[in-house]
């Protein structure tokens, strides 16, 4: 196990370098990092040259990348155009997005798995067909539609929630945005659990459990569910990473000042430092989450042992 973790950590290095280099090149070479500084007008050539040498942008790209990475490892993600430290932006944005992700994941686990178990055990019955149809609808509707409709109905028309989330973004205000963010994944979790349960329900070991005279509840939770959840856990784990970075639409709709919002603003204003910094952190989150999922897999299924 220990050796496996070390090997995986080593494997992360090239992935990390590759991913960050790609985003660095995209922003710094394909885009113009100076253009955003001058607002809507084009920059005066003299100012531009001066700025370029000030930020080291006249140096070769590989040198720029190395300098940047060197700074990142000392905890310096640079400064945004408005003079704010990128790390400062992160320290306000990440806690908000983490809270939002927690809400979304809880929805996926509680609602998604419950619905999946119920439908998997009652395959072909009315409840199964209804839920299946609902998941199809949810998957087919883009998140921004779900988000805007819920915001309009719950927030504006009926006044049950605040249409916009406050800057502090406490858990209580994140319930509806969390549901919106989770909706598509929730539908997938439901379907995945349903298929897995239905498949394992007829398994020999379930028959053995029944033959042992175990109560139905114990057969389902201890024998059926433990085996059926292995693929679901993998999906949910991988989704944590996707939700953290992919909340751009939801955060925009509900005016949540999290990672997605900052990234969106950064891209819009060609705020190079913000974009590269946030993406670098997201790459790390992805890598860490994937490693945890793989380790969790071995805990859930003793047949998998990493050497």
């Amino acid at each position: 196990m220990g050796r496996y973790v070390i090997r995986r950590l080593l494997q992360m290095i090239p992935v990390f370098i590759g991913a960050t280099l790609l985003i660095f090149l995209m922003v710094n070479v394909m885009g113009d990092p100076i253009a955003g500084l001058c607002g809507d007008r084009a920059c005066d050539p003299a100012t531009e040259a001066q700025l370029k040498s000030e930020f080291g942008l006249d140096k070769p790209v590989w040198q720029q990348y190395l300098t940047y990475m060197g700074n990142v490892f000392t905890g310096d993600f640079g400064t945004a155009f408005n003079g704010q430290k990128v790390t400062e932006l992160m320290s306000t944005a990440f806690p908000v997005t983490i809270r939002l992700t927690i809400v979304a994941i809880l929805f996926e686990i509680v609602v998604g798995i419950s619905l999946g178990v119920i439908t998997g055990l009652r395959r072909g019955r009315p409840i199964d067909t209804t839920v299946l149809l609902l998941t199809l609808v949810v998957i087919s509707i883009p998140t921004f539609v779900t988000g805007l409709v819920l915001q309009l109905l719950l927030g504006v028309e009926w006044g049950w929630i605040n249409p916009a989330v406050s800057t502090e973004a406490p858990f209580s205000e994140l319930i509806v945005p969390g549901l919106v963010l989770a909706s598509v994944s929730l539908a997938y979790v439901t379907r995945l659990t349903r298929t897995s349960i239905a498949e394992n329900r007829r398994a020999d070991y379930v028959r053995t459990a029944i033959a042992k005279g175990l109560p139905r509840r114990r057969v389902i939770t201890r024998h059926l569910l433990r085996n059926s959840l292995i693929p679901v856990v993998t999906f949910i784990g991988a989704d944590v990473g996707a939700l953290m970075g992919g909340a751009i639409v939801t955060e925009r709709i509900f005016n949540i000042h999290g990672v997605g919002y900052q990234l969106y603003q950064g891209i819009l204003r060609q705020n190079t430092q913000t974009v590269v910094g946030f993406v670098t952190i997201l790459v790390l989150v992805f890598l860490a989450v994937n490693l945890i999922v793989d380790l969790l897999y071995a805990v859930l299924d003793p047949r998998i042992r990493y050497a």
Partner: protein, 328 residues
Amino acid sequence: MPLLEVRDLHVEFRTREGVAKAVNGVNYTVDEGETLAVLGESGSGKSVTAQAIMGILDVPPGKIAGGEILFKGRDLLKLKEEERRKVRGAEMAMIFQDALSSLNPVLSVGEQIGELFVVHKGMSRKDGKAKAVELMDRVRIPAAKERVGQYPHQFSGGMRQRIMIAMALALEPNLIIADEPTTALDVTVQAQVMDLLAELQRELNMGLILITHDLGVVADVADKIAVMYAGRIVEQAPVHEIYKAPAHPYTKGLLESIPRLDQKGQELFAIKGLPPNLMNIPPGCAFNPRCPMAQDVCRTDVPPLAEVSPTRRSACHFWKETLDASTR
């Protein structure tokens, strides 16, 4: 009063394609300490009968269409599910064919054995595990104490089947149903597992229903045999009588299809044709299309289970002729 008496049991499977009649009026009894071998091809209804007795039939599509299952005098089919559940695992237990798929891959064997004590006896998990070690010792798994925390995939095929046996024996049931317990094992291991099972059965004076298509196993351990075909018992007799002289052409065919050393080099005998489609069982005797002795009457009349001797029955219009031909 016998330990178990199955009376005129009928089981159907209702599928989209139609109704498959898997069991059509099976009768048999098992006494304490007695071994009944149920013999037959795949689809003959031998496993379905066992599942109906255990109460683990998939309902739906399965449905018990009629009959009684008397266990220690009470009809199991009339019990409520919760009472039925308490019988399962405690008073009667089942050993399945493929121990690898029949054991839960993600729970340790100790947990799976101990669970029976937790659920039926209200013991703590820790005590259950201690009981599991005792049982694993009893079925002669070496180093039981160290292996109790291991998972099924870490055991060999024979050891896994021993764990299945330990699980079945845990609460010292009165009846054990073993559904082809040795089919998935190597020949040498088969004998060991079968011997162990027979020994423990004697010790605990349990009734044993041994479902198999391996005639070699049957001869060694069974007291009596029931041969099934298309959901019906076609011949029922004490084991030595059947081996000496079968009274049904199907039994005869089964016995003749055993490979024998003195016939080395000759072509192996096989019963012609295929088992009948259970959705469309031939009229008359179900075996008639494959039977070398079939006459017109076999195609129209279902043969009754005729008494050959006080302990022996055969469902063949021509059982006398068959018996004479095989004695000669």
